[in-house]
Amino acid sequence: MIAMTNYLEVRSLSKQFGTFTALGDVSLDVVEGEFVCFLGPSGCGKTTLLRAIAGLDPQTSGTIRQKGRDVSALPPAQRDFGIVFQSYALFPNLTVADNVGYGLVNRRQARGAIAKRVAELLAMVGLPDAGPKYPAQLSGGQQQRVALARALATSPGLLLLDEPLSALDARVRLRLRHEIKALQRTLGVTTIMVTHDQEEALTMADRIVVMNHGAIEQVGTPQEIYRRPATAFVADFVGSMNFLSGTLMAPDRVRVAGVDFTCPAQDGLAPGQKVSLCIRPEDVRVRDLPADSANRVPVEVAELDFVGAFCRATLKARAASDVAVTADFSSNLIRDLGVDIGTRLDIALPPDRVRIFA
């Protein structure tokens, strides 16, 4: 990435609350026009990082540059951003139109120009007739759209979304996900969204920043995060993952319960080291195994949980019953192979889908 295109540069950001480290030496670049999600469990520092970028809770040390300008010590009012909170923070005593125009009135624009811009913004978020209503008369999803319109009214260079969809019910959340993403793409506004919902991050983000314990675990596209998690934490937090403890025998061989498995070559780890062999449930293969396929294990079905579109099976190795793997079986597969509890199968863990973590 060329430094010129970086819209936001965060360098060595730390935030202490007394002796508690909320953010420890975090560095990050955000490209202009990008949609970035901060993803992590509660207390991981994602909201702290967002609030530091906004200047609402300034960092203890470190710098933030926005469009080449050092904003590290600037108060929020002197930074360029629009923000939407989980609570919407709509002014309840002002009409929707007054809420959206709140930042415009202060800019001494002509009344007609403001009204026109407000109408335009309300149309943009799909609420063209909501202007004269009060926030309490709108549904949660509608209120969040108004909050979005208000944040975008002054055409900020950076849009910050702090868990904007968490307070909404599941259906509205799904619809708003697409609407926000589409709006962001049309406007091209650089956007950072904080969320603890991995599905939300995976579907909306151009890049995901996975955080844990005040540090960044991994930055990457949704595919990268899902397919090639950089740490055991990311592997575990995003999607489902099997963890099998074993020992690294050679750079590309791991021994689990006496059986050797082939894996992608590991450079950073020394043979003899204890490692976890990881594979996602949907990557476990059952059908059409070639006779000599690698990482082949004879198993027995111990449990079968119906999850709707598929079944999640717990498979115990026939050679070592304390080693278990979960695998996702489609309904077709279960019907075709006649899988039931106690069924004996052969599975394979494709080496290119296997991940090794120390």
């Binding site: 060595s12 030496d25 040390s61 710098t63």
Partner: protein, 562 residues
């Protein structure tokens, strides 16, 4: 690596500078209103009559004068008895209001509040009419006399009842129906449910009510003044020392002795309240009492009895004020309302009271609400905000008499540039606002804490100055709380005696003070008349508030409707 990164010193926006400036200014105002007068009082206790420092000599002489020390014991005695009577009475009344099906609940609630609108000398005067030397029921007392401890305790029970009832009604109203359902399902007896669910739930309310009543009795001046007879208490001692003997140093010492139990009660209350966790979570199901004949009849009778007692005392004061010449000529007249005949200020002292109450309501509400907002919304600046918070809580622990005394010492000092305030309406307003600062500050803070904390963040991101959001959003949303504070200040300014008794000048005399003077001069009927005028005024203002709340707000605040 993070060790080498330079620490960031957050820059300040114009908003931050304005807010911090405001907090400093507020701290300064509170220091002048509270801190310095109390300091002046403390210092005065260590001086002799000529202002020379004499260490603890005054305190030594206080504690070695049996008559003075006896007053302290008397105060404790009266306060303890009153507390023991009022708290169970108020608990039963509050229980009836919240946990039983009471016919005309609103009426009983309203009657229980009546004493709040009266100056504390009103029950004293009513008791004189009922049981005094020429009282209606004098014969009932036999050889006993209403003047003294009995009269004080009865009047104090009347005076403290609404305060305890309000606290306990709140404590009992916040109950989770699910707890009672669970107890029912588990087969607990009514008795067991009362002792394991109801009482523990109201525990903090009971402690709070007891401490409030104790402090009220300790620090009240009007009742002991009117009906105390030869039974001296701390509050009357301060008055006698300062007004009677002009012994300011000794007055200061008695004031400090009076401050001790009030401050202690306040501290205990704070410590206890800190332990309290919210019993009523957002998911709680409010308890709605179901009819139960025997219980409801019993409690209705109890409430009727208590209400009758309250109305008798109020009614006696009203009747007494309308009687020509007690007890010889019982024909009715309005002569006693011609105050010019009894006090040189005439009706002017009433209008002074109204002016003072309006001034305190306007200036006090402005200061309390803006102050609470500044202290809540300023970013950083923790130490200074802590100072403000401390000063805002201070008045709760300071009896009015003590604060008034501090005002004399501080504002009357010849080298004080604020000396010009002395003996003006201004000092009365300032003193009243200071005296009742804590409740207003708490009301405002609670209201501010209930609104979304991100409003300021949103307006900063939209580049709207924080004060504009205060005017356009924060203040309008908090309008009900703002009105509550104003009414609270108005009513208390109308009825207060203790804090202003040292501070009025001939042309700024207040109605409550005039009532004390008139009563002292022996014309009880006119004093009663003045008390009645005060009750009617503050009750009318409160009623107007309720009506406004109900009808005006419904129109003004359409946005609250869903």
């Amino acid at each position: 690596m993070s060790l080498t990164a330079p620490a960031v010193k957050p820059g300040m926006s114009r908003d931050d500078l304005m807010m911090r400036g405001g907090v400093v200014l507020l701290a300064g105002v509170l220091l002048v209103m509270l801190g310095l007068p109390l300091w002046a009082l403390l210092a005065k206790g260590f001086e002799d009559r000529d202002g020379k420092f004499i260490g603890l000599a005054n305190y030594v002489s206080y504690f070695s004068t049996p008559a003075l020390f006896q007053s302290a014991l008397n105060s404790l005695h009266v306060a303890s008895i009153t507390t023991v009577i009022v708290v169970p009475l108020a608990f039963l009344y509050a229980y009836a209001l919240t946990r039983t099906v009471l016919p005309m609940r609103w009426l009983f609630q309203g009657i229980s509040l009546i004493p709040i609108f009266a100056p504390s000398l009103l029950p004293g005067i009513a008791l004189i009419y009922l049981f005094g030397t020429q009282g209606f029921f004098k014969a009932l007392l036999g050889d006993g006399s209403i003047y003294g401890i009995d009269g004080i305790v009865i009047a104090q029970v009347f005076y403290c009842f609404p305060h305890a009832t309000l606290i306990l009604t709140t404590a009992l109203a916040t109950a989770d129906a699910r707890l009672y359902e669970a107890a029912d399902v588990l087969g607990a007896s009514k008795r067991r449910v009362f002792f394991t669910v109801t009482l523990p739930g109201a525990k903090y309310g009971l402690i709070s009510a007891a401490l409030v009543v104790f402090t009220l009795v300790m620090t009240d001046f009007g009742i002991a003044k009117v009906i105390g007879g030869n039974f001296n208490v701390l509050a009357t001692d301060v008055y006698k020392k300062v007004i009677g003997q002009q012994d300011f140093s000794m007055g200061a010492v008695v004031g400090m002795v009076l401050l001790a139990p009030a401050a202690l009660a306040f501290l205990v209350d704070r410590l206890v309240q800190r332990k309290q966790v919210a019993l009523l979570t957002a998911r709680a199901v409010p308890l709605v009492p179901r009819p139960k004949f025997a219980r409801d009849v019993l409690f209705t009778m109890f409430c009727l009895l208590v209400s009758a007692a309250i109305l008798t005392i109020l009614g006696m004061a009203i009747w007494g004020s309308l009687i020509k010449y007690w007890p010889y000529n019982l024909s009715l007249t309005l002569e006693n309302y011609d105050f010019a005949k009894f006090d040189s200020n005439g009706w002017e002292s009433y209008w002074n009271s109204v002016r003072m109450a309006l001034g305190a309501a306007v200036f006090g509400t402005l200061l309390m609400f803006t102050g609470a907002w500044l202290n809540e919304k300023t970013r950083g600046f923790g130490a200074m905000r802590g100072v403000v918070q401390f000063l805002a809580f201070l008045p709760m622990a300071v009896p009015g008499l003590v604060l008034g005394l501090g005002y004399i010492f501080f504002f009357n000092a010849p080298n004080n540039p604020l000396n010009f305030l002395y003996a003006t309406m201004g000092i009365l307003v300032l003193n009243t606002v200071a005296h009742f600062y804590t409740v207003g500050h708490l009301t405002a803070t609670t209201a501010l804490k209930q609104i979304d904390p991100e409003f300021e963040a949103v307006s900063a991101s939209l580049k709207v100055p924080i004060w504009k959001t205060f005017v356009r959003v924060t203040a309008p949303i908090c309008l009900p709380a703002i009105l509550d504070i104003a009414i609270y200040l108005f009513v208390n300014a109308m009825t207060t005696v203790s804090s202003v008794i040292f501070l009025y000048a001939p042309d700024t005399k207040l109605a409550s003070v005039a009532a004390v003077n008139i009563e002292e001069a022996g014309t009880t009927a006119a004093a009663a008349a003045l008390c009645v005028v005060i009750v009617l005024t503050s009750a009318a203002v409160k009623a107007a508030h309720l009506v406004a709340d109900r009808f005006l707000f419904a129109r003004l605040q359409v946005w609250r409707r869903r």
